[in-house]
Amino acid sequence: DQQVKQNSPSLSVQEGRISILNCDYTNSMFDYFLWYKKYPAEGPTFLISISSIKDKNEDGRFTVFLNKSAKHLSLHIVPSQPGDSAVYFCAASARVGGSQGNLIFGKGTKLSVKP
């Protein structure tokens, strides 16, 4: 059963507008969440992370929000740029409990930003 779910396989937004990518998780032991961005023929690139003790983390145009009660996180990109077009993966880990903090990934959401 999927522990990390990205229910939207794709998302299309206009340049300059906000992109919102969503991720849900089921394991209440997860305490560290990350977003990765992937271009074709390249490896995933780390974008931003958030610890479960926070509900928001911001880095430039990228903000991640965490709602622990809903087991939901989202990535906001404002303003969206054509270079943001990529596949975005949500990942989660439990840093305690013997799992060695291994990451569990969602299936990804393909973002297309149109000029």
């Binding site: 990350l34 390249e42 490896g43 780390f46 992370s49 993966f89 990934f105 299936k107």
Partner: protein, 112 residues
């Protein structure tokens, strides 16, 4: 760039042959990982290492083995490749549990 080199970048081989993929890091990070990426599945962990000669299985370890005899190198071996192992393989490294993993650029493996 995270100082991760995967080799080869592309390989085509036949069913039943042994295949070894190499991941080399220059960061002296403790943790190293092998993932596979397939359409509709995202990234799935095959094996990981938490130190020299310390390895463990991930979610999809059947048919794969690994070795880590030096900090900088993590090898993934398919003892007898099958068509179901056609995939893109990514290596990742991490310094400590509180840090993100950083990925190499992948190896595209095709098994005919």
């Amino acid at each position: 760039d995270a100082g991760i080199t995967q080799s080869p970048r592309h390989k085509v081989t036949e069913t039943g042959t042994p295949v070894t993929l190499r991941c080399h890091q220059t960061e002296n990070h403790r943790y190293m990982y092998w993932y596979r990426q397939d359409p509709g599945h995202g990234l799935r962990l095959i094996h990981y290492s938490y130190g020299v000669k310390d390895t463990d299985k991930g979610e999809v370890s059947d048919g794969y083995s690994v070795s880590r005899s030096k900090t900088e190198d993590f090898l993934l071996t398919l003892e007898s490749a099958t068509s179901s192992q056609t995939s893109v393989y990514f290596c990742a490294i991490r310094d400590s549990l509180g840090q993100p993993q950083h990925f190499g650029d992948g190896t595209r493996l095709s098994i005919l």
